[in-house]
Amino acid sequence: MRLETEDIGVRYGRHEALGGVNLRARAGEVTAIVGPNGSGKSTLLGAITGTLPHAGRVILNGRDVAGQKPWELAAQRAVLPQATRLAFPFEVLEVVRLGQQAGTAGGRANVPMQALARVGMAHYAERIFQDLSGGEAQRVMLARVLAQVWSPVEAGVPRWLLLDEPVASLDIAHQLQVMEIARDFARAGGGVVTVMHDLNLTALFADRVLVLSGGRPLAFGTPQEVLTDDTLSRAYGCTLKVSRPPERADMPYVLPHHGQLTGA
């Protein structure tokens, strides 16, 4: 089962923000979308989730999303936005329940608390959402998303987590925690598509990487194949050096090289 896009394009007025993107994300894998600011990462995710009007087709688990009702899609995939502004003073647990009611775990009363525990926020269940820090709020939103697709596979059909920069406002420990949650979800048979800024976290956790540059796909493959000096330097427009630690030759990590240091 897959999440596929066919020739996705998004225009903002006359400006083409995204064009010709054919993504193939498989269930059971974490697929990362990387690229510099303005390269169209979030725009692509917005097109996949149906938030942005777009050209081309999005196929989720073999069916075109265009003809499906919001609640049909909500049972198959959950979406984590970059930031959420909540209108009224809901408690944390109430926010997570909003996600649970959308999914197919509807009846299971303990799912919201389990989801909160999974992101390490169970002790905040009765706090008012607006009183949380940015990072805490983001983890609660992840719990809401998890509660929506609590079982990675339902009736043999994988479910999907679509994450827009899930670790942007988190400290390093929580960055690792969130990425582990995403990987565990994929290992259990679900699918994960995530927009990423941090190339090293991407190398650590992603199974496939799509590199976007200027609204166009530049490379797609495993981190080994894609995270190379040449591709990254071209994508980001600066000199980047990919190293491999001797003890983990399969895991590239990316170092920025200042011009003077490299003599460039």
Binding site: A87, V95, L98
Partner: protein, 355 residues
């Protein structure tokens, strides 16, 4: 109001508390109804009448008239108007994602009023078959269309990409209210003496003109609108997360917005048509309920109907007795009670209107 103070401490599960509050508020409403029937200018009390009824004595003509033709229709109208105003306030706040959005404040009430005045003044110019079909419903229906038009306009102006600008909403509301007021003023100049009397009476905001005919004229619109609003709970909860996220958790956003706008316009229109401009119920009631049992619209909307009806009936009792045998327009009572609460909301949460 004892029910509200009891639960001011943070409950463990607010949803369960909101359910409990629901039954408490139903009791409060029953009590307010009894008080409203008991008290009035005439020396007729509910307790005395009940005593007579239990003893098997017949009621006098005066007692029948006071109970069935004066107090009961007035009570029925108070319940309808109070419930409709509070529910339309709660629904509008959910739609605009802001606790300050109230039909009375942002010009929807004025738009509905313009519709009602149009119907009163120009209704005689309509073809006979239209007035025949519409009958007593003409003024409420016109108020509904006025409210609908102004809600749509306000939403178009103040909302871009699913996000409402509070500043734009409030300022557009001022403009809308001024425009509706000016157009209404022109119509007042065109009115004849009888119409002028109707308008003056109506414009003060009062339940004093209550009659079974008015109750029946407004009832269908109130029942439809409040009924529609009551099923919006899940949709408005979703909208609290933003339009995009609401869609992602399975809410049909466009349909939710459409139903919310129609319900707000219908409830506001019906209330304005029969009682004129009664302010602040729509903002104070949902705010108190959010403090007491949280913002979950699935309980907020039905509880708002109960508390709104209770508060309006109480305000009406105050309006009737405070300068008896004369009576105050109820709009004055709700403004005196409600405006300070509105200011208090602003003081507590100034961030709401940071422009």
């Amino acid at each position: 109001m004892a029910a509200l103070t009891e639960i001011s401490s943070r409950p463990r599960d607010r949803h369960a508390r909101a359910r409990a509050l629901h039954w408490a508020l139903a009791g409060v409403l029953a009590l307010c109804c009894a008080v409203s029937l008991q008290i009035g200018a005439a020396e007729v009390t509910l307790t005395a009448l009940l005593g007579k009824w239990l003893a098997g004595e017949p009621l006098t003509m005066m007692e029948r008239v006071v109970l069935f033709d004066i107090r009961l229709p007035r009570l029925a109208m108070g319940v309808m108007v109070g419930g409709a105003l509070a529910v339309s306030g709660a629904a509008m706040q959910g739609l605009f994602r802001n606790p300050l959005a109230d039909p009375g404040i942002v010009g929807v009430g004025a738009g509905a009023g313009l519709g009602a005045i149009l119907a009163i003044v120009l209704g005689t110019l309509l073809p006979v078959w239209v007035t025949d079909i519409a009958g007593n419903h003409l003024v409420p229906l016109a108020a509904f269309f006025g409210g609908w038009g102004s809600t749509l306009l306000l939403y178009r102006v103040s909302t871009r990409g699913g996000r409402t600008s509070v500043a734009t909403m409030l300022l557009a509301g001022i403009a809308l209210g001024a425009l509706a007021g000016a157009l209404s003023g022109i119509l007042v100049y065109m009115a004849d003496d009888q119409q002028l009397r109707d308008l003056t009476f109506w414009g003060l905001g009062s339940l004093a003109g209550a009659s079974w005919a008015k109750v029946l004229a407004a009832a269908p619109l109130v029942v439809l609108s409040v009924g529609a609003a009551l099923v919006l709970g899940r949709g408005l909860n979703g909208l609290a997360l933003g339009e995009a996220t609401a869609a992602h958790i399975g809410i049909d956003v466009q349909r939710t917005k459409l139903v919310a706008i129609l319900a707000v316009a219908g409830a506001t229109g019906a209330a304005v048509a029969v009682s004129g401009g009664i302010g602040f119920i729509g903002i104070v009631v949902p705010h108190l309920l959010r403090l007491a049992s949280g913002p979950d619209h699935r309980m907020l909307l039905p509880n708002a109907a109960l508390l709104g009806a209770s508060l309006l009936i109480l305000a009406d009792v105050i309006a009737r007795v405070i300068i008896a045998p004369a009576e105050l327009p109820i709009g004055i009572v709700t403004a005196v009670l409600g405006a300070p609460v509105f200011l208090w909301i602003l003081l507590r949460r100034r961030g709401l209107v940071d422009l």
